[in-house]
Symmetry: C2
Subunit: 229 residues, 2 copies
DNA sequence: CGACGGCTTGATCCGAGTCAATCCTGGTGG
DNA sequence: CCACCAGGATTGACTCGGATCAAGCCGTCG
């Protein structure tokens, strides 16, 4: 299940990646994946790794999207983050996963052995630095999210989410969301109904348009930014 | 304000530190602070650094306690974490602080120039590794906290908090909390009233005792753990 | 002893959750 | 090409957990 290699898709997708996104400021990690990574395809909703499993691999999204989450014993779910094209995920220090990772939509990812990356990092200080930087960036995102979950109201959460997604996609006006309302709810610490209502409300207030449930157009950035605080 | 050095307190407190806590598993960072760090005293509620300031220093708590937090424009506050004896804080990658740090109680901290630590890390791979590990541990704590803020009820939040604090102090039964109810509330994404009521409720349920408002005795770990997840 | 700050308790309110129908909409098969 | 179906999304009515507002209650310190 893990090694259904598909070089064709790999080349094709990696090519597309470098077109749609400006070259990231730091390259060693991307390069490492290019040299050491193996392309693997995951179907929508399939698990990439599970909480508690040993940490063997690190991943980079070529296409599709991934969610990482934790569950409480009664099924309540908190999504920690979404990972899209170009994002590296699954880089942890300990021996055990503390999240589960699943494909949101059919996804192609590059898989690298953590040991291989660490060994490369031993020879390349710039890679070593980027591994640390990557962890630090994830930490910053998590910390910003703490403020959202602990202190923002539903409207503010949704506005923040939309602006964040806008900053990550190709267009910063038209969002094509890969995730369902339920995923958004579990990311924002809300229910699906509240997410839906809040989006409707923002549409009535002329802040956004929702041509399709998965497509959202930002119409009034100012208004959203004001909610973002 | 920053360099009111006090070698006397430094020696005294560092001595006490190594007594009350078993030697941590990794030492290079602690050693680095011992060699490069300067002892500074901060009064209760005084700011150590502010959000948006440039990142120059890294800190290690010798005594007292520190909170790091973010504010929304209207004053809502989210505390990201508490730092007590032995904890390193303020280790960030970028150029700007994304938190404010304040002393909760009068605190003595060791201050090291980040540049000095980074330079040491260049010569000592084990220090370099520990810097990364430290960031990764902060990330794990933040991620666990996301689940708490996003999906746990008030009772579960308080129970989780108590068990977490118990795991950090000297005694895992008797907690002497350095922070106020307001701090706890802003850490748990609740109001001060809800924290107070919830503690009272736990006391009625015989899960804890509250001999003094700042001292809490864990009486029924089982019950707390059950709430924890 | 009095005053102040931190904490607790009570009464009430409200934002978001819950429960329960619909309502799309995109995919399938006839 | 169209009718149907299933799963996701929306909407509505109502509930409830925690927030808000408002007193009191310590405990500490001058």
């Amino acid at each position: 299940m893990l090694h259904q290699e598909s070089k064709h898709i790999l080349d094709q997708e990696v090519g597309r990646f470098s077109q749609t996104r400006p070259r990231a400021e730091s390259v060693p990690l991307a390069d490492a994946f290019a040299s050491v990574g193996v392309s693997v395809r995951y179907a929508r909703n399939s698990e990439i790794y599970g909480e508690g499993e040993p940490v063997d691999n690190v991943y980079r999204v070529v296409s599709g999207a991934v969610r990482t989450y934790k569950l409480l014993s009664d099924g309540r779910r908190q999504i920690g983050d979404f990972h899209i094209q170009g994002d590296v995920f699954g880089l942890e220090i300990g021996t055990e996963r503390h999240f589960t990772a699943e494909a949101i939509a059919d996804a192609v990812v590059l898989v690298a052995k953590r040991s291989a990356l660490v060994s490369l990092a031993g020879k390349d200080p710039s890679l070593s630095a980027e591994l640390w930087t990557h962890t630090a960036k994830e930490l910053k995102r998590a910390q910003d999210h703490l403020l959202l979950l602990g202190r923002k109201r539903a409207q503010e959460r949704v506005a923040t989410f939309l602006l964040d997604m806008a900053g990550r996609g190709c267009s910063d006006i038209v969002l094509d969301l890969p995730m369902s309302r339920q995923d958004i709810a579990d990311y924002l610490g809300l229910t699906i109904e509240t997410v839906s209502r809040t989006l409707t409300r923002l549409e009535c207030d002329m802040a956004i348009e929702i041509p399709t449930s998965r497509r959202i157009v930002l119409r009034d950035r100012q208004a959203l930014g004001h909610l973002n605080s």
